[in-house]
C-alpha cells in the first residue's frame, strides 16, 4: 500500500516535471483547489465536485459571474425554444 502511494507520488512528480512552468503552475493550482474542495465538501456534507466548481466560480469577479449567468440563461432559453 505505502509503496503504491510512493509510486503514484513519484509518477505524479515525474509528470509535473515534464510540464512547462506555466503548465505546472496551472496543474498545481488545480490540485490545491481540488484538495480544498474535497476537505470543505467533507465538512459541509456536500459533493466535492460541486464544491470545486463553486470555488472556481468564487474565484471570478462579480462581473464575470453575472456575465456567465446571463449567457447561460440566454443559451438555456435558446435551447428550449421550439
Amino acid at each position: 500500500m505505502d509503496e503504491e502511494v510512493v509510486d503514484e507520488e513519484g509518477a505524479l512528480h515525474a509528470e509535473l516535471a515534464a510540464l512547462t512552468p506555466q503548465q505546472r503552475a496551472w496543474t498545481e493550482n488545480q490540485l490545491v483547489l481540488r484538495a480544498r474542495a474535497t476537505r470543505l465538501a467533507a465538512r459541509l456534507h456536500l459533493d466535492a465536485g460541486d464544491v470545486f466548481h463553486m470555488l472556481r466560480n468564487l474565484a471570478r469577479t462579480p462581473a464575470e459571474r453575472l456575465s456567465l449567468g446571463l449567457l447561460h440563461g440566454r443559451l438555456t432559453r435558446a435551447a428550449h425554444r421550439p
Binding site: L44, L46, L58, P62, R65, L66, S67, H72, G73, R74
Partner: protein, 155 residues
Amino acid sequence: MVDSLAPLTDLERAFLEALESRGVRFLVVGMSAALIQGVRGATEDIDLWFERLSDPAIAAAAGAVGGFFVTRTQPPLIGGVGDRFDVVTTMDGLPSFDSEYGRAIDVDLGIHVKVLPLDRILVSKRAANREKDRIPIEQIERTIRLLAALSDDDE
C-alpha cells in the same frame, strides 16, 4: 474568454449611470444578485428594485440614453435600453427598501451598483415560496454555507 464578457452592454451601463447621476436609489435583486455573489446558475434578467417607482428621475434617466419608462403596466417597463432589466415592485419577506438599502453590498460591474446580500435574497425567495425558486434556494443555501466555511478557513 470570460474576461471579454462584460455583464452589461454600453447602453445598460449608461442607463445605470444616468440613474446614479440623478440620485435614483435602486438595488439589484433576485437571481442576478445571487449570481454576482457566487451562486452558480442562470438568469435572463437583471432585476431592479427602485426606492420610489413614482420618481420622475427614472423616466428622465431612461430618456437620457434613448429609452423610456412605462409606469402604468404591471410591472412597469424599462424600454429602449435592451430587454434585460426587469422592474421588481415588491420583495416578499423584506420589510422595506430603506432597511435593505442600508445593508446592501457595493459591487463593481463596470459601474458600482448596490446589490441585495445573499442572506436577504434567501429570505425573500423563501417568503415568495415559488416552485421555480426551489433549486435556486438550494444553490443559495449551499453557497452561503461554503462562504461561511471559507471565512472560517481564512481566520
